[in-house]
Amino acid sequence: MINLKNKVIKYIPFIILGCFTFEMSIIVGLLLFLPNLLFCFIPLYLANLFLIIKFLINKYKNKAGEK
């Protein structure tokens, strides 16, 4: 339980970044209905992607280290 709690807390900024990206995409795409503006979201989506790749690499490295 403590481990799970720590893991969630560790990823809070990543969750915030993801929520922010998603929230702004919804506001601009659906509420304002300006799909052209989504072009400006590409770097932010890339940043999210970089973080996911980095987490996967770290996980893979940790598993390799354990073996």
């Binding site: 807390i9 506001i27 932010l44 987490f55």
Partner: protein, 302 residues
């Protein structure tokens, strides 16, 4: 209505960020980060809004002329940029490289700026002052956000992260405090002068002279910083790109002025000045490129 879409998520994110920071980094580091970020953002907004304001923040939460929502927005950006830089460089040889981490963090700050600046105007979260509205055209803006604002976000993020890492890694030595004060002051002066030029465009010769001084200062600071810190291939490549960009910029200006001279001969003095500036940059850059080239070879050979 749209304002709630900014205030509510930002408040929730802010509380989560503080909890995360205290649990992961400890109370002392959290206090350092949030304390410095608040002072930095507040002073930045206060100075710019008092001397050369370009925009007005919405909402009633204000201290003097500073909108607190904008200050919280800056802290939010800095926190995510710092987290992004730390995570990307984690367990790599750049983990303790201040410059590399700052550049990576700045990338995230600019990414957020692209989203915020293009959406915020549409949503009424902040708005341009009437003096500026006439100057924003489709050719100098991206969906209503002038290009210079993205550079502004980049500079603000870069200076914050760089100075924060200096404080965090090396504590409060006199040398560090001097560098921090110098960088923060240069940033503020740059915004004040830049914003004043945007609001009241001076003769182009003043603009050129100003950009000449700024670029010289950047080159001299980079040169000293590069000599002072441990070399790595990433920094060398970034600096070489920057130097090429500066020369390229000067050449574009000369071509532009040459075209203007065809119509109006009075611009001949401006052209002469630009050529002198270009020669000066080539002289400086030639020396710098030699140093970087040697370092680059050393890094490759190692």
């Amino acid at each position: 209505m749209f304002e709630l879409l900014l205030v509510i998520p930002l408040s929730i994110f802010f509380i989560l960020m503080i909890i995360n920071s205290i649990i992961i980094d400890g109370l002392k580091n959290s206090f350092l980060f949030f304390g410095y970020a608040t002072i930095y953002s507040f002073i930045r907004e206060f100075v710019i809004n008092s001397i050369a304001p370009l925009y007005e923040g919405s909402g009633n939460l204000k201290i003097g002329n500073v909108s607190l929502i904008i200050v919280f927005g800056w802290i939010f950006t800095f926190y995510l940029a710092n987290y992004f830089a730390n995570q990307i460089t984690k367990k790599t040889k750049y983990e303790h490289s201040i410059f590399t981490k700052t550049c990576i963090g700045t990338f995230l700050a600019i990414s957020i700026s692209l989203v915020m600046e293009t959406s915020a105007i549409q949503l009424g979260w902040w708005h341009w002052r009437p003096e500026l509205l006439g100057k924003i055209t489709p050719s100098n803006s991206l969906f209503g956000a002038p290009y210079f604002v993205f550079i502004g976000w980049g500079i603000t993020g870069f200076v914050f992260l760089f100075t924060y890492y200096l404080i965090k890694n090396n504590s409060f030595s006199i040398k560090n405090l001097l560098i921090i004060c110098l960088l923060d002051s240069l940033m503020l002066i740059n915004f004040i002068v830049g914003n004043s030029f945007i609001l009241n465009p001076p003769p182009i010769i003043f603009n050129l002279f100003y950009s000449f001084i700024v670029q010289s200062i950047i080159l001299i600071l980079l040169y000293h910083y590069y000599n002072y810190q441990k070399k790595n291939i990433f920094i060398t490549i970034i600096l070489i790109i920057l130097i090429i960009w500066m020369i390229f910029n000067s050449i574009i200006m000369i071509i532009y002025t040459s075209l203007v001279i065809i119509v109006d001969m009075s611009y001949i003095y401006q052209l002469l000045f630009e050529i002198i500036v270009l020669l000066y940059f080539i002289y400086l850059d030639k020396k710098l490129i030699q140093i970087y080239k040697n370092d680059f070879n050393t890094i490759i050979n190692n």
